[in-house]
Symmetry: C2
Amino acid sequence: MKKFEEKTIQSELKYKGRIITLLVDEVLLPNGKKGNREIIKHPGAVAVIAITEDRKIILVEQYRKALERSIVEIPAGKIEPNERPEITALRELEEETGYTTETLQYIQSFATSPGFADEIIHLYLAENIVKLEEKADLDEDEFVELMHVTLQEMDTMITNKEVYDAKTAFAYHWLKDYLKQN
Amino acid sequence: MKKFEEKTIQSELKYKGRIITLLVDEVLLPNGKKGNREIIKHPGAVAVIAITEDRKIILVEQYRKALERSIVEIPAGKIEPNERPEITALRELEEETGYTTETLQYIQSFATSPGFADEIIHLYLAENIVKLEEKADLDEDEFVELMHVTLQEMDTMITNKEVYDAKTAFAYHWLKDYLKQN
């Protein structure tokens, strides 16, 4: 998988923040010329497709500063240092929804923006979910509102752009297929 | 859609590059406390689900420096200044695949990484594609290899992580549904 490899000539750190790091790499292109690549390093994330007993999907509405609007997403969150993604997934499910499960299943992983970022998101399926007696705490800068919706309602939310992000758009089509078969 | 709005107290430009810009916004959180948001501004992108007459999908393999590997994706590219997304979509289809179409259809748009970036990707469907007599030029730092695959082959490529990005993962499940109905 090293086809068209771009070898790093030098890598310059432009910004190191709380969550993301920005590098500009000077690279040797496959044609022997030089180029520059702006790269965001991100710790990676998880997202959880959580289904209730009556086959509704749990979604969370939150404000996304980058978009300057609130959108509705499947529960998700960043991986903490040295945390295994399945632990992050269970933690985020508990923190954001107040539910937990003993049967978390891995679905697949994908890069969100391979053109400029190394962020990978790992998707999980949570079925047989049960309400926690005491809801886990959210991060101190996190404000979310929960909703339980049918697949049909989710379709409407995509049409009116309330659902407006890649992982949740993926989740809708993945679920449509999954619920047909299960 | 302004629920949990985070008002900007001040916005600091940390990096302005060729493609991305990095800002750190100090914000007023809904609980009255202050927080910081690291934000990447990106011009936005398009991606095209292109289907051949024999119901194969056109994919492109390219090296992604951010991931330090090559992956297989649906044709995609950045929106140029003042370019309408459907123009970008047709241009990228022509440049990356050597095909064109008179029936480009808009599917939907989504944010790729709403936690830290404003990048929106607009998805289009290209059917009834015809080969250009002369292939359009790629960008000078762009190297891609074309492939035509069946949905079944694409499924295998997801399993072995050759297909490894959000828009292409979405495209697979969207297509699975679409091809059943058409």
